[in-house]
Symmetry: C2
Subunit: 127 residues, 2 copies
């Protein structure tokens, strides 16, 4: 992030290369800023390897923190921190059974997003 508070004149291409027709057309087609921020937030959450591993695991099965930690070779604490982020983003839900808390995906859209990313990567890194 790091937005500096300088007030220098922004050299934003004032002159010739502007294609106002394109700008106009694109501007109307853009996703609303607020929605786009939500989408970016979703991708950001899924953009961390540890969290994506967790998502990957939860696509396959409901799991407790302890199992996730063992599976991903992470500290339960680290897993818990990441689960908190996934919880705050409504990507996962949980249920308690005694001392153990089981996490699972909150909806199937998440796995759709995951698989779409997978498709991209598979087609990209392949002969």
């Amino acid at each position: 992030m790091a937005k500096r508070i300088s007030v220098s004149e922004t050299p934003t291409c004032e002159v010739s290369c502007r294609h106002d027709d394109v700008l106009e057309r694109v501007r109307h087609g853009l996703t609303e800023p607020e929605v786009l921020r939500w989408v970016a937030a979703l991708f950001k959450v899924m953009g961390d390897p540890s969290r994506l591993q967790i998502v990957n695991a939860l696509i396959l099965s409901e799991m407790c923190v302890c199992d996730l930690a063992a599976l991903l070779k992470m500290t339960p604490s680290a897993v818990s921190h990441q689960l908190q982020i996934l919880r705050q983003s409504d990507l996962v839900k949980w249920r308690r059974e005694g001392k153990v808390i089981y996490y699972s995906l909150d909806d199937e859209h998440v796995s759709n997003v995951f698989y779409q990313g997978l498709v991209h990567v598979n087609e990209k890194h392949h002969p």
Copy 2:
């Protein structure tokens, strides 16, 4: 990231809560680590609002840096830096026409990923 080099004993749930059947099953279903890292990298790139705006714009039309800067109210320099990241991830391609460089999406998988994210957000933040 920030991986500390401590060598404390990792308290990784050694005792009772382990579900070895689940662990075994999930372990075999997991996406290969290297592929998963690529997917995470893709989401990470698309997880920044500025870059996602650029992607959003390029879904609608090929555009030059100057137009992107004007559309998104960013410095050409900032746009260029972000385009470099999108270029390095093979998300965009470009062509030169005189002084102007036009960017466009490298393939349609990118927009599929974008739309899948959009679907998730629309269903999530809606009655």
